[in-house]
Protein backbone atom coordinates (compact mmCIF):
# COMPACT_ATOMS: atom_id res chain seq x y z
CA UNK A 1 0.00 0.00 0.00
CA UNK A 2 2.87 2.31 0.89
CA UNK A 3 4.39 1.84 -2.59
CA UNK A 4 1.12 2.71 -4.33
CA UNK A 5 0.97 5.86 -2.19
CA UNK A 6 4.59 6.70 -3.04
CA UNK A 7 3.95 6.40 -6.79
CA UNK A 8 0.77 8.43 -6.46
CA UNK A 9 2.59 11.14 -4.55
CA UNK A 10 5.35 11.25 -7.15
CA UNK A 11 2.89 12.00 -9.97
CA UNK A 12 1.37 14.84 -7.95
CA UNK A 13 4.72 16.33 -7.00
CA UNK A 14 5.96 16.25 -10.56
CA UNK A 15 2.88 17.98 -11.87
CA UNK A 16 2.32 20.64 -9.27
CA UNK A 17 5.98 21.61 -9.00
CA UNK A 18 5.98 22.80 -12.55
CA UNK A 19 4.01 26.02 -12.87
CA UNK A 20 4.42 26.07 -16.62
CA UNK A 21 2.76 22.66 -16.80
CA UNK A 22 -0.26 23.71 -14.77
CA UNK A 23 -0.73 26.94 -16.67
CA UNK A 24 0.03 25.27 -20.00
CA UNK A 25 -2.64 22.67 -19.50
CA UNK A 26 -5.16 25.32 -18.43
CA UNK A 27 -4.57 27.45 -21.51
CA UNK A 28 -6.46 25.30 -23.99
CA UNK A 29 -9.65 24.75 -21.95
CA UNK A 30 -9.89 28.43 -21.02
CA UNK A 31 -9.38 29.44 -24.63
CA UNK A 32 -12.13 27.04 -25.73
CA UNK A 33 -14.44 28.23 -22.99
CA UNK A 34 -14.01 31.90 -23.81
CA UNK A 35 -13.77 31.68 -27.60
CA UNK A 36 -16.57 29.17 -28.13
CA UNK A 37 -18.66 30.43 -25.23
CA UNK A 38 -18.79 34.00 -26.40
CA UNK A 39 -18.57 33.19 -30.09
CA UNK A 40 -21.34 30.62 -30.37
CA UNK A 41 -23.40 31.84 -27.43
CA UNK A 42 -25.73 34.15 -29.40
CA UNK A 43 -26.29 31.62 -32.21
CA UNK A 44 -26.99 28.83 -29.72
CA UNK A 45 -29.53 31.05 -27.99
CA UNK A 46 -31.19 32.01 -31.28
CA UNK A 47 -31.48 28.35 -32.19
CA UNK A 48 -33.43 27.84 -29.01
CA UNK A 49 -30.74 26.01 -27.05
CA UNK A 50 -30.70 28.37 -24.08
CA UNK A 51 -27.58 29.55 -22.29
CA UNK A 52 -24.54 28.16 -24.13
CA UNK A 53 -22.09 28.66 -21.25
CA UNK A 54 -24.31 26.40 -19.12
CA UNK A 55 -24.12 23.77 -21.83
CA UNK A 56 -20.48 24.18 -22.75
CA UNK A 57 -18.75 24.36 -19.36
CA UNK A 58 -19.25 20.71 -18.29
CA UNK A 59 -17.87 19.69 -21.69
CA UNK A 60 -14.79 21.85 -21.25
CA UNK A 61 -14.20 20.57 -17.72
CA UNK A 62 -14.35 17.04 -19.14
CA UNK A 63 -11.99 18.09 -21.93
CA UNK A 64 -9.41 19.43 -19.50
CA UNK A 65 -9.55 16.18 -17.53
CA UNK A 66 -9.44 14.13 -20.73
CA UNK A 67 -6.28 15.77 -22.04
CA UNK A 68 -4.46 15.88 -18.72
CA UNK A 69 -5.30 12.24 -18.03
CA UNK A 70 -4.19 11.01 -21.44
CA UNK A 71 -1.00 12.97 -21.12
CA UNK A 72 -0.29 11.66 -17.62
CA UNK A 73 -0.63 8.14 -18.98
CA UNK A 74 1.47 8.69 -22.07
CA UNK A 75 4.10 10.31 -19.87
CA UNK A 76 5.21 6.77 -19.14
CA UNK A 77 7.23 7.15 -22.34
CA UNK A 78 9.32 9.84 -20.68
CA UNK A 79 10.01 7.57 -17.76
CA UNK A 80 11.20 4.97 -20.22
CA UNK A 81 13.41 7.55 -21.86
CA UNK A 82 14.80 9.22 -18.75
CA UNK A 83 15.40 5.74 -17.39
CA UNK A 84 13.36 6.15 -14.23
CA UNK A 85 11.04 3.34 -15.26
CA UNK A 86 13.86 0.82 -14.84
CA UNK A 87 14.25 1.86 -11.24
CA UNK A 88 10.65 0.90 -10.52
CA UNK A 89 10.67 -2.21 -12.70
CA UNK A 90 13.58 -3.92 -10.93
CA UNK A 91 12.12 -3.25 -7.47
CA UNK A 92 10.45 -6.14 -5.66
CA UNK A 93 7.00 -4.67 -6.18
CA UNK A 94 4.34 -6.18 -8.40
CA UNK A 95 3.82 -4.39 -11.69
CA UNK A 96 0.13 -4.14 -10.96
CA UNK A 97 0.88 -1.97 -7.92
CA UNK A 98 3.19 0.23 -9.98
CA UNK A 99 0.54 0.64 -12.65
CA UNK A 100 -2.13 1.32 -10.03
CA UNK A 101 -0.08 3.97 -8.23
CA UNK A 102 0.78 5.72 -11.48
CA UNK A 103 -2.79 5.62 -12.75
CA UNK A 104 -4.32 6.88 -9.53
CA UNK A 105 -1.70 9.63 -9.35
CA UNK A 106 -2.29 10.68 -12.95
CA UNK A 107 -6.06 10.54 -12.48
CA UNK A 108 -5.89 12.66 -9.33
CA UNK A 109 -3.94 15.32 -11.19
CA UNK A 110 -6.45 15.22 -14.05
CA UNK A 111 -9.41 15.62 -11.68
CA UNK A 112 -7.72 18.57 -9.98
CA UNK A 113 -7.09 20.22 -13.35
CA UNK A 114 -10.77 19.75 -14.17
CA UNK A 115 -11.75 21.34 -10.87
CA UNK A 116 -9.51 24.33 -11.52
CA UNK A 117 -11.31 24.87 -14.84
CA UNK A 118 -14.59 24.52 -12.96
CA UNK A 119 -13.57 27.30 -10.54
CA UNK A 120 -12.47 29.56 -13.38
CA UNK A 121 -15.73 28.98 -15.24
CA UNK A 122 -17.63 30.47 -12.31
CA UNK A 123 -16.06 33.79 -13.17
CA UNK A 124 -17.31 33.77 -16.73
CA UNK A 125 -20.89 33.14 -15.87
CA UNK A 126 -21.30 29.40 -15.25
CA UNK A 127 -24.03 28.79 -12.67
CA UNK A 128 -23.94 25.15 -11.55
CA UNK A 129 -26.20 23.22 -9.27
CA UNK A 130 -23.89 22.52 -6.32
CA UNK A 131 -26.03 19.85 -4.67
CA UNK A 132 -24.74 17.12 -6.95
CA UNK A 133 -21.12 18.30 -6.94
CA UNK A 134 -19.83 15.06 -5.35
CA UNK A 135 -21.50 13.12 -8.17
CA UNK A 136 -19.86 15.43 -10.70
CA UNK A 137 -16.47 14.74 -9.13
CA UNK A 138 -17.16 11.02 -9.32
CA UNK A 139 -17.84 11.32 -13.06
CA UNK A 140 -14.70 13.38 -13.47
CA UNK A 141 -12.69 10.75 -11.59
CA UNK A 142 -14.01 7.99 -13.86
CA UNK A 143 -13.10 9.95 -17.00
CA UNK A 144 -9.65 10.55 -15.47
CA UNK A 145 -9.04 6.89 -14.62
CA UNK A 146 -10.24 5.66 -18.02
CA UNK A 147 -7.98 7.96 -20.00
CA UNK A 148 -4.92 7.69 -17.75
CA UNK A 149 -5.18 3.92 -18.14
CA UNK A 150 -5.65 4.29 -21.90
CA UNK A 151 -2.61 6.56 -22.11
CA UNK A 152 -0.56 4.10 -20.09
CA UNK A 153 -1.66 1.21 -22.29
CA UNK A 154 -0.65 3.12 -25.43
CA UNK A 155 2.65 4.24 -23.91
CA UNK A 156 3.48 0.66 -22.92
CA UNK A 157 3.39 -0.20 -26.62
CA UNK A 158 5.06 2.93 -27.98
CA UNK A 159 8.81 3.17 -28.45
CA UNK A 160 9.18 6.93 -28.49
CA UNK A 161 7.28 10.21 -28.45
CA UNK A 162 6.89 10.38 -32.27
CA UNK A 163 3.50 8.74 -32.11
CA UNK A 164 2.16 11.23 -29.60
CA UNK A 165 0.66 13.69 -32.09
CA UNK A 166 -0.86 10.76 -33.93
CA UNK A 167 -2.66 9.60 -30.81
CA UNK A 168 -3.89 13.10 -29.99
CA UNK A 169 -5.11 13.91 -33.51
CA UNK A 170 -6.57 10.57 -34.52
CA UNK A 171 -7.87 9.25 -31.23
CA UNK A 172 -8.30 11.84 -28.50
CA UNK A 173 -9.55 14.75 -30.63
CA UNK A 174 -12.21 12.65 -32.43
CA UNK A 175 -13.34 11.18 -29.10
CA UNK A 176 -13.66 14.70 -27.79
CA UNK A 177 -15.60 16.10 -30.75
CA UNK A 178 -17.90 13.07 -30.84
CA UNK A 179 -18.76 13.21 -27.16
CA UNK A 180 -21.25 16.04 -27.15
CA UNK A 181 -18.85 18.16 -25.14
CA UNK A 182 -19.17 21.31 -27.27
CA UNK A 183 -22.35 20.76 -29.31
CA UNK A 184 -25.44 18.60 -28.81
CA UNK A 185 -25.40 15.26 -30.61
CA UNK A 186 -29.18 14.81 -30.89
CA UNK A 187 -29.45 15.57 -34.59
CA UNK A 188 -26.48 13.67 -36.00
CA UNK A 189 -26.69 10.92 -38.63
CA UNK A 190 -27.41 7.40 -37.44
CA UNK A 191 -23.98 5.98 -38.29
CA UNK A 192 -22.28 8.69 -36.25
CA UNK A 193 -24.74 8.17 -33.42
CA UNK A 194 -23.32 4.67 -32.86
CA UNK A 195 -19.81 6.02 -32.51
CA UNK A 196 -21.11 8.63 -30.12
CA UNK A 197 -22.77 5.95 -28.01
CA UNK A 198 -19.76 3.66 -27.72
CA UNK A 199 -17.49 6.59 -26.92
CA UNK A 200 -16.93 6.43 -23.13
CA UNK A 201 -16.39 10.18 -23.02
CA UNK A 202 -19.99 10.73 -24.18
CA UNK A 203 -21.21 9.11 -20.99
CA UNK A 204 -18.72 11.05 -18.93
CA UNK A 205 -19.82 14.38 -20.40
CA UNK A 206 -23.49 13.44 -20.12
CA UNK A 207 -23.12 12.44 -16.47
CA UNK A 208 -21.10 15.53 -15.67
CA UNK A 209 -23.60 17.81 -17.40
CA UNK A 210 -26.54 16.18 -15.68
CA UNK A 211 -25.00 16.47 -12.24
CA UNK A 212 -23.87 20.08 -12.70
CA UNK A 213 -26.76 21.63 -14.61
CA UNK A 214 -29.50 19.19 -15.36
CA UNK A 215 -31.82 16.83 -13.68
CA UNK A 216 -30.73 13.48 -12.38
CA UNK A 217 -32.56 10.56 -13.86
CA UNK A 218 -32.16 7.00 -15.07
CA UNK A 219 -29.71 8.11 -17.77
CA UNK A 220 -27.14 9.11 -15.16
CA UNK A 221 -27.22 5.68 -13.54
CA UNK A 222 -26.68 4.05 -16.92
CA UNK A 223 -23.79 6.41 -17.65
CA UNK A 224 -22.25 5.59 -14.28
CA UNK A 225 -22.48 1.83 -14.83
CA UNK A 226 -20.99 2.08 -18.32
CA UNK A 227 -18.11 4.25 -17.10
CA UNK A 228 -17.27 1.95 -14.19
CA UNK A 229 -17.25 -1.01 -16.59
CA UNK A 230 -14.98 0.77 -19.07
CA UNK A 231 -12.68 1.96 -16.27
CA UNK A 232 -12.21 -1.59 -14.98
CA UNK A 233 -11.63 -2.86 -18.51
CA UNK A 234 -9.04 -0.19 -19.35
CA UNK A 235 -7.18 -0.54 -16.05
CA UNK A 236 -7.08 -4.29 -16.75
CA UNK A 237 -5.73 -3.82 -20.29
CA UNK A 238 -3.28 -1.16 -19.08
CA UNK A 239 -1.95 -3.45 -16.34
CA UNK A 240 -1.57 -6.33 -18.73
CA UNK A 241 0.37 -4.29 -21.30
CA UNK A 242 2.41 -2.63 -18.58
CA UNK A 243 3.38 -6.01 -17.14
CA UNK A 244 4.84 -6.90 -20.55
CA UNK A 245 7.04 -3.80 -20.83
CA UNK A 246 10.71 -4.52 -21.46
CA UNK A 247 13.30 -1.76 -21.27
Amino acid sequence: MKTVYMLWLRQLKRHFRSKSRIIGSLGQPILFLVALGFGFGPIYQKAGGGNYIQFLTPGIIAMSTLFTATFMGIELIWDKEFGFLKETLVAPVSRFKIMLGRTLGGATVAVLQGLIVFLISLFIGFRPNLVALPLAILFLALIAIIFTALGTAIAAKMEDMHGFQLIINFLIMPLFFLSGAIFPMNGVAKEIKYIVLINPLTHGVEGLRASLTGTLGLGVTVDLIILIGVALLFVGIGSYLFSKVEV
Partner: protein
Protein backbone atom coordinates in the same frame (compact mmCIF):
# COMPACT_ATOMS: atom_id res chain seq x y z
CA UNK B 1 34.50 -16.53 -0.54
CA UNK B 2 32.48 -19.74 -0.48
CA UNK B 3 31.97 -22.38 -3.10
CA UNK B 4 28.26 -21.73 -3.11
CA UNK B 5 27.01 -20.38 -6.43
CA UNK B 6 24.76 -17.34 -6.34
CA UNK B 7 24.42 -16.79 -10.10
CA UNK B 8 24.36 -19.64 -12.59
CA UNK B 9 24.01 -19.06 -16.32
CA UNK B 10 23.88 -21.97 -18.77
CA UNK B 11 23.74 -21.62 -22.56
CA UNK B 12 22.04 -18.23 -22.45
CA UNK B 13 21.03 -16.76 -25.81
CA UNK B 14 19.28 -13.46 -26.51
CA UNK B 15 18.31 -12.24 -29.96
CA UNK B 16 16.87 -8.90 -31.05
CA UNK B 17 15.19 -9.81 -34.32
CA UNK B 18 18.08 -10.94 -36.53
CA UNK B 19 20.83 -9.70 -34.27
CA UNK B 20 22.21 -12.11 -31.66
CA UNK B 21 23.31 -9.98 -28.72
CA UNK B 22 24.28 -12.86 -26.46
CA UNK B 23 25.20 -16.21 -27.96
CA UNK B 24 25.16 -19.36 -25.86
CA UNK B 25 27.09 -18.08 -22.86
CA UNK B 26 27.66 -19.92 -19.59
CA UNK B 27 29.28 -18.74 -16.38
CA UNK B 28 28.80 -18.80 -12.66
CA UNK B 29 29.38 -16.37 -9.83
CA UNK B 30 30.19 -17.55 -6.33
CA UNK B 31 28.78 -16.08 -3.20
CA UNK B 32 30.87 -13.17 -1.91
CA UNK B 33 32.82 -12.81 -5.13
CA UNK B 34 33.64 -9.48 -6.78
CA UNK B 35 32.99 -10.51 -10.36
CA UNK B 36 34.24 -8.35 -13.22
CA UNK B 37 32.30 -8.73 -16.47
CA UNK B 38 34.39 -7.07 -19.15
CA UNK B 39 34.06 -6.55 -22.87
CA UNK B 40 34.20 -3.93 -25.62
CA UNK B 41 31.16 -1.79 -26.51
CA UNK B 42 28.26 -3.82 -27.79
CA UNK B 43 29.70 -7.11 -26.53
CA UNK B 44 26.50 -8.04 -24.70
CA UNK B 45 27.33 -6.95 -21.15
CA UNK B 46 24.31 -4.76 -20.52
CA UNK B 47 22.00 -7.23 -22.25
CA UNK B 48 23.23 -9.97 -19.92
CA UNK B 49 22.70 -7.75 -16.89
CA UNK B 50 19.21 -6.84 -18.05
CA UNK B 51 18.35 -10.52 -18.38
CA UNK B 52 19.76 -11.36 -14.95
CA UNK B 53 17.80 -8.47 -13.43
CA UNK B 54 14.43 -9.51 -15.00
CA UNK B 55 14.23 -6.56 -17.40
CA UNK B 56 14.59 -8.67 -20.54
CA UNK B 57 13.50 -12.20 -21.32
CA UNK B 58 16.08 -14.57 -22.82
CA UNK B 59 15.38 -16.63 -25.94
CA UNK B 60 16.91 -19.74 -24.43
CA UNK B 61 19.15 -20.91 -21.62
CA UNK B 62 18.96 -21.65 -17.92
CA UNK B 63 19.51 -18.91 -15.38
CA UNK B 64 19.43 -18.97 -11.63
CA UNK B 65 19.89 -15.85 -9.55
CA UNK B 66 20.02 -16.63 -5.84
CA UNK B 67 18.53 -20.01 -6.72
CA UNK B 68 15.55 -18.52 -8.55
CA UNK B 69 14.60 -18.14 -12.19
CA UNK B 70 14.28 -14.50 -13.36
CA UNK B 71 11.71 -15.46 -15.99
CA UNK B 72 9.31 -17.43 -13.83
CA UNK B 73 9.99 -15.91 -10.41
CA UNK B 74 10.84 -12.29 -11.18
CA UNK B 75 9.62 -10.94 -7.85
CA UNK B 76 11.73 -13.43 -5.88
CA UNK B 77 14.79 -12.51 -7.91
CA UNK B 78 14.12 -8.78 -7.52
CA UNK B 79 14.29 -9.16 -3.75
CA UNK B 80 17.83 -10.51 -4.01
CA UNK B 81 19.65 -7.80 -5.96
CA UNK B 82 20.35 -4.11 -6.22
CA UNK B 83 21.53 -2.39 -9.36
CA UNK B 84 23.27 0.74 -10.54
CA UNK B 85 22.43 1.16 -14.21
CA UNK B 86 24.76 2.31 -16.91
CA UNK B 87 22.44 5.11 -18.02
CA UNK B 88 20.53 7.48 -15.76
CA UNK B 89 17.49 6.24 -13.87
CA UNK B 90 16.81 9.10 -11.48
CA UNK B 91 13.69 11.23 -11.39
CA UNK B 92 14.93 14.69 -12.36
CA UNK B 93 11.85 16.42 -11.00
CA UNK B 94 12.40 15.11 -7.47
CA UNK B 95 15.09 16.09 -4.98
CA UNK B 96 18.05 13.85 -4.12
CA UNK B 97 16.39 13.07 -0.82
CA UNK B 98 13.07 12.18 -2.44
CA UNK B 99 14.78 9.88 -4.93
CA UNK B 100 16.43 8.03 -2.04
CA UNK B 101 13.21 7.94 -0.03
CA UNK B 102 11.28 6.58 -3.01
CA UNK B 103 13.82 3.80 -3.41
CA UNK B 104 13.73 2.98 0.29
CA UNK B 105 9.95 2.65 0.25
CA UNK B 106 10.00 0.51 -2.90
CA UNK B 107 12.39 -1.88 -1.15
CA UNK B 108 10.42 -1.69 2.13
CA UNK B 109 13.35 -0.62 4.28
CA UNK B 110 11.98 0.31 7.72
CA UNK B 111 11.81 4.05 8.24
CA UNK B 112 14.49 4.40 10.90
CA UNK B 113 17.05 2.28 9.07
CA UNK B 114 16.13 4.00 5.81
CA UNK B 115 16.80 7.48 7.18
CA UNK B 116 20.04 6.33 8.79
CA UNK B 117 21.37 4.83 5.56
CA UNK B 118 20.22 7.78 3.46
CA UNK B 119 22.26 10.09 5.65
CA UNK B 120 25.30 7.79 5.67
CA UNK B 121 25.31 7.26 1.91
CA UNK B 122 24.58 10.84 0.94
CA UNK B 123 27.55 11.82 3.10
CA UNK B 124 29.80 9.23 1.46
CA UNK B 125 29.02 10.56 -2.02
CA UNK B 126 29.21 14.12 -0.67
CA UNK B 127 25.70 15.16 -1.56
CA UNK B 128 24.36 15.61 1.96
CA UNK B 129 24.52 19.40 1.76
CA UNK B 130 22.48 19.41 -1.44
CA UNK B 131 19.97 16.72 -0.57
CA UNK B 132 16.98 19.03 -0.95
CA UNK B 133 17.84 20.26 -4.42
CA UNK B 134 16.07 19.00 -7.50
CA UNK B 135 18.13 16.41 -9.34
CA UNK B 136 17.77 18.29 -12.62
CA UNK B 137 20.05 20.97 -11.21
CA UNK B 138 22.82 18.40 -10.60
CA UNK B 139 25.87 17.92 -12.81
CA UNK B 140 26.47 14.59 -14.53
CA UNK B 141 28.95 13.49 -11.87
CA UNK B 142 26.61 14.38 -9.03
CA UNK B 143 23.79 12.41 -10.62
CA UNK B 144 26.10 9.44 -10.99
CA UNK B 145 27.05 9.63 -7.32
CA UNK B 146 23.43 9.86 -6.25
CA UNK B 147 22.59 6.91 -8.41
CA UNK B 148 25.29 4.83 -6.74
CA UNK B 149 24.24 5.93 -3.26
CA UNK B 150 20.69 4.91 -4.06
CA UNK B 151 21.74 1.51 -5.39
CA UNK B 152 23.64 0.76 -2.19
CA UNK B 153 20.75 1.60 0.09
CA UNK B 154 19.11 -1.76 0.62
CA UNK B 155 22.18 -4.00 1.13
CA UNK B 156 21.17 -6.69 -1.35
CA UNK B 157 22.67 -10.17 -1.66
CA UNK B 158 23.92 -9.31 -5.13
CA UNK B 159 24.89 -5.89 -6.35
CA UNK B 160 24.95 -5.26 -10.11
CA UNK B 161 27.05 -2.29 -11.16
CA UNK B 162 26.96 -1.48 -14.86
CA UNK B 163 29.92 0.85 -15.45
CA UNK B 164 29.33 2.51 -12.10
CA UNK B 165 32.34 4.82 -12.07
CA UNK B 166 32.10 6.08 -15.63
CA UNK B 167 32.97 9.78 -15.73
CA UNK B 168 33.85 10.12 -12.04
CA UNK B 169 37.05 11.62 -10.72
CA UNK B 170 39.60 9.29 -9.05
CA UNK B 171 38.76 10.53 -5.53
CA UNK B 172 35.08 9.70 -5.85
CA UNK B 173 35.86 6.43 -7.57
CA UNK B 174 38.08 5.43 -4.69
CA UNK B 175 35.56 6.39 -2.02
CA UNK B 176 32.85 4.44 -3.74
CA UNK B 177 34.93 1.34 -4.24
CA UNK B 178 36.07 1.49 -0.60
CA UNK B 179 32.44 1.46 0.46
CA UNK B 180 31.55 -1.37 -1.92
CA UNK B 181 34.48 -3.47 -0.74
CA UNK B 182 33.44 -2.92 2.83
CA UNK B 183 29.90 -4.08 2.04
CA UNK B 184 31.40 -7.10 0.32
CA UNK B 185 33.58 -7.94 3.33
CA UNK B 186 31.20 -7.12 6.17
CA UNK B 187 27.89 -8.25 4.73
CA UNK B 188 29.09 -10.74 2.14
CA UNK B 189 27.43 -8.85 -0.71
CA UNK B 190 28.32 -10.41 -4.06
CA UNK B 191 29.35 -7.77 -6.58
CA UNK B 192 28.82 -8.17 -10.33
CA UNK B 193 30.26 -5.22 -12.23
CA UNK B 194 31.26 -4.06 -15.68
CA UNK B 195 33.79 -1.37 -16.42
CA UNK B 196 36.01 -0.04 -19.17
CA UNK B 197 38.76 0.85 -16.69
CA UNK B 198 40.95 -2.25 -16.81
CA UNK B 199 43.15 -0.99 -14.03
CA UNK B 200 40.06 -0.75 -11.83
CA UNK B 201 39.02 -4.29 -12.73
CA UNK B 202 42.50 -5.58 -11.99
CA UNK B 203 42.46 -3.96 -8.58
CA UNK B 204 39.03 -4.93 -7.28
CA UNK B 205 37.81 -8.02 -9.12
CA UNK B 206 38.70 -11.43 -7.77
CA UNK B 207 37.32 -13.16 -10.84
CA UNK B 208 36.99 -11.87 -14.40
CA UNK B 209 34.94 -12.95 -17.37
CA UNK B 210 35.59 -11.41 -20.81
CA UNK B 211 32.77 -11.29 -23.34
CA UNK B 212 33.07 -10.25 -26.97
CA UNK B 213 30.50 -10.28 -29.77
CA UNK B 214 28.06 -12.10 -27.51
CA UNK B 215 30.43 -14.92 -26.61
CA UNK B 216 32.58 -15.52 -23.57
CA UNK B 217 36.17 -15.67 -24.70
CA UNK B 218 38.09 -15.92 -21.42
CA UNK B 219 37.56 -16.52 -17.71
CA UNK B 220 39.84 -16.47 -14.69
CA UNK B 221 41.54 -14.26 -12.15
CA UNK B 222 43.43 -11.24 -13.40
CA UNK B 223 46.73 -13.10 -12.84
CA UNK B 224 45.52 -16.13 -14.78
CA UNK B 225 44.42 -14.00 -17.73
CA UNK B 226 47.76 -12.21 -17.86
CA UNK B 227 49.62 -15.51 -17.68
CA UNK B 228 47.48 -17.04 -20.39
CA UNK B 229 48.05 -14.15 -22.81
CA UNK B 230 51.67 -13.60 -21.69
CA UNK B 231 51.02 -9.93 -21.02
CA UNK B 232 51.96 -7.62 -18.16
CA UNK B 233 48.68 -5.85 -17.49
CA UNK B 234 45.00 -6.70 -17.70
CA UNK B 235 44.60 -3.96 -20.32
CA UNK B 236 47.13 -5.66 -22.61
CA UNK B 237 45.54 -9.02 -21.97
CA UNK B 238 42.12 -7.56 -22.80
CA UNK B 239 43.31 -6.05 -26.09
CA UNK B 240 45.11 -9.22 -27.05
CA UNK B 241 41.94 -11.21 -26.45
CA UNK B 242 39.43 -8.89 -28.08
CA UNK B 243 41.50 -7.32 -30.86
CA UNK B 244 42.13 -3.72 -31.74
CA UNK B 245 39.03 -2.92 -33.75
CA UNK B 246 36.65 -0.32 -32.40
CA UNK B 247 33.10 -1.60 -32.06
CA UNK B 248 29.93 -0.03 -33.33
CA UNK B 249 26.78 -0.24 -31.32
CA UNK B 250 23.44 -0.28 -32.99
CA UNK B 251 21.21 2.49 -31.70
CA UNK B 252 17.61 1.78 -30.70
CA UNK B 253 14.91 4.44 -30.96
CA UNK B 254 15.25 4.92 -27.20
CA UNK B 255 18.96 5.58 -27.54
CA UNK B 256 18.20 8.15 -30.20
CA UNK B 257 15.76 9.88 -27.90
CA UNK B 258 18.31 9.89 -25.10
CA UNK B 259 20.93 11.29 -27.43
CA UNK B 260 18.60 14.05 -28.52
CA UNK B 261 17.86 14.87 -24.96
CA UNK B 262 21.55 15.10 -24.16
CA UNK B 263 22.08 17.46 -27.07
CA UNK B 264 19.15 19.67 -26.16
CA UNK B 265 19.90 19.41 -22.47
CA UNK B 266 23.19 21.26 -22.88
CA UNK B 267 21.44 24.41 -23.98
CA UNK B 268 20.05 25.00 -20.53
Amino acid sequence: MSEEKIIEVKSLTKKFREFTAVHNISFEVHKGQIFGFLGPNGAGKSTTIKILTTLLHPNSGKILVDGKNPVTQPNEVRKAFGIVFQDPSLDDELTAWENMEFHGVLYSIPKQLRRQRMEQLLKIVELWARKDELVKRFSGGMKRRLEIARGLMHHPKILFLDEPTLGLDPQTRNNIWEHIKELNKKEGVTVFFTTHYMEEAQRVANYICIIDRGKIIAKGTSAELKKKTKTKSLEDAFIKLTGRNIREEEATPLDNLRMRRRVWGRRR
